[in-house]
Symmetry: C2
Subunit: 393 residues, 2 copies
């Protein structure tokens, strides 16, 4: 096991009607004037925004609003938010929505305190984010884990490429998590969220670091939960307990308590960024398309051991001691069945509009200003092309 630090200071307010405590949470962390950032649509229609405002009013916290956060959030909206945050002198930024509204809020929150261009933290000009306005979250989607993570993923509109900024100060001060808010999600979003969190586990599980029994077991706990509760949430969208288990699991799958002390991969996530950017699929759908092909490549080049563990412990495959690679492959096949039959997500790039001739451009774009991707499998443009091609049809 490697040395590590772990720090997850977010206050989680979890359960039915939790959004009524948004104002109390802002007050707890010293906020007086907040920028509310959200997508629009369902946050407004469902009355959630009004309930959040009511709770802020009750605590005497003033606010300004910025709607229009999009899936795969864009740099332009961040600049708009930074300008508004500065002009209105807010001391808190609250993201209301899923990972997109939250990541956009995070970028606004640290961008507002930074003299230069916030993109400096995305293109390598600056290192980790060191300073930020405090961030709060009202979560409406169990998926990205951004409610507890150090990350903020933004797409640069000037070239349409997705990058990630990172820093302990980007962990939200509080996260309001009401599973009821996720009961009305369309199946595609539920499924995409479930696969995103499964991928957060897999990016950590496939590691060469030896002697990581405990985090292996925690990751398996998360993955088993996603398989069970993801399926229930698809079959019974209104099932509060399925939604609640999935939501808390999404947080723990990505606050890194499961990933400390070990190398992590993240190659599939980086490859996926190109799919959602180029074809407009959800992040989770893009991951579902790529993951089995990545696994087959990884198994071939890095050995079957971890894939056999995955097959037996997660999908309950019987170990074939004479042919462990058959067991490993069976695990991947069962994952594909879960993706297709349970989550009903696409399984090929062509299904989302990609063509074989796009592959070189996907790989080029992925490595644009970012030379290193992956760890368990150290990706090169050639390897990325091979995996993209395998996932094409």
């Amino acid at each position: 096991m490697d040395n590590f630090t772990f720090y997850s200071p977010t206050w989680f307010q979890f359960g039915k009607d939790a959004e009524a405590l948004t104002g109390a949470c802002v007050k707890k962390f010293g906020g007086k004037k907040a920028l509310l950032h959200y997508g629009g649509g369902s946050v407004v229609r469902s009355g959630l925004l009004d309930r959040v405002k009511k709770s802020l009013d009750a605590e005497g916290i003033s606010y300004v609003e910025l709607g229009g956060a999009k899936p795969n959030p864009l740099s332009g909206k961040v600049y708009e938010g930074i300008e508004l945050a500065r002009k209105e002198k807010v001391d808190f930024v609250i993201g209301i929505g899923g990972g997109s509204a939250i990541d956009s809020s995070k970028a606004i929150a640290f961008g507002a305190l930074y003299d230069g261009d916030f993109w400096d933290f995305y293109d390598g000009t600056q290192g980790q984010v060191q300073e930020s306005l405090p961030i709060g979250v009202v979560l409406t989607l169990a998926a990205t884990g951004s409610e507890a993570s150090t990350d903020a993923v933004i797409t640069n509109e000037n070239g349409m490429y997705k990058r990630c900024a990172d820093g302990d100060v980007l962990r939200p001060k509080f996260a309001i998590m009401n599973p009821e808010l996720t009961c009305t999600l369309p199946p595609y979003q539920t499924a995409s969220g479930a696969f995103d969190m499964l991928s957060h586990c897999m990016e950590r599980y496939f590691s060469h670091t030896p002697e990581v029994e405990f985090t292996d077991r925690l990751l398996e706990a998360c993955m088993l939960t996603i398989l069970k509760e993801g399926k229930r949430a698809m079959l019974e969208p209104d099932n509060y307990d399925a939604r609640a288990n999935l939501m808390w699991c999404g947080t723990i799958s990505h606050n890194n308590v499961t990933g400390v002390g070990r190398a992590q991969d993240w190659g599939t996530h980086h490859m996926e960024n190109e799919l959602s950017t180029h074809y407009g699929c959800s992040h989770g759908a893009g991951l579902a398309i790529l993951t089995p092909s990545w696994m087959k490549y990884a198994m071939k080049t890095q050995g079957t051991e971890r894939f056999v563990m995955f097959a037996t412990r997660i999908f309950g495959c019987q170990m074939d001691y004479e042919h462990p690679e058959a067991t490993a492959l069976e695990g991947i096949e069962r994952l594909q069945v879960f993706i297709k039959d349970v989550l009903k997500l696409p399984t090929t790039i062509s299904e989302i509009g990609g063509k074989m001739e796009d592959v070189p451009e996907l790989a080029r774009s992925m490595f644009h200003g970012a030379p290193n991707h992956g760890n368990f499998v150290k990706l090169t443009p050639e390897i990325a092309e091979e995996i993209y091609r395998a996932a094409m049809e």
Copy 2:
């Protein structure tokens, strides 16, 4: 799943030589003058105390010292520490050692800011602790989870009874966790620590709250790790990775990420307090003695379902569908084998010097000023007596 809040803001500095960063951690959280509290003995002899002081010196942090924290820490030492903390105007309290030094440090830290008697937070005069000097920890024993918990257990010398204070402010600001420091522990302490953390999982696992799949799975992850790495640590005390997995597992087993959204029991812990107080055994040994008897009583009165889960998922027992109670009992038997043959802990109260005629006094003392114990099994003095008697020989 029940509504909940979760808040674990401790900075964990984990790995080899981590104690060299004690000074940096105090500085990070704004400390200028610390009270160092420890037991003595190995903390001094091993050179750990000197290394901690050196790291404080390097950051210009001054300190005063208070040794003499005992296993099952006593109220007298807390009063002494409170007086010293006030006189020296320290702004940080650092516990160096296992759960005892840490809990004693926590009580000193909040007692120093409280005008009345710190015991008010133990006897029900006051509720949760709301204010405390910041607490830091240099952990030398994987066991109590106090490095991340909200608890501080102290024994009142005036009557020799153990009680627990609680509050979010008792979560340490930082915890220095170097698994190397645990490699020299005597087997009895290693085993006691391992069983204490196993018990932290079991107190949460045996719950009537329905639909808690995710925390069930997390608890199973912890328990499987304790069985594997606890055994390795007993057989190969110097095995760094066994110690490291066990240490991180001890923290996560008790920071409550595994226990949110569900009722928890804690009856065995309360019963155990009497054994360690009356007979001077370690807390973990007392828990090992009582747990199988508690389980048999609980199974008989609360149904076999959770005990069958425990048997099949933790000890790999084959399910007997015709006789589920046989499966449940087999799980308890395998736990007893683990306690006796792997951990080499005592299995009866008589082994630690107890006699059948002590039982009424144990039960009386347990309920002294504390009428409610247990949740999965709601204990009465009569039920406690029955379990004590079953564990006697």
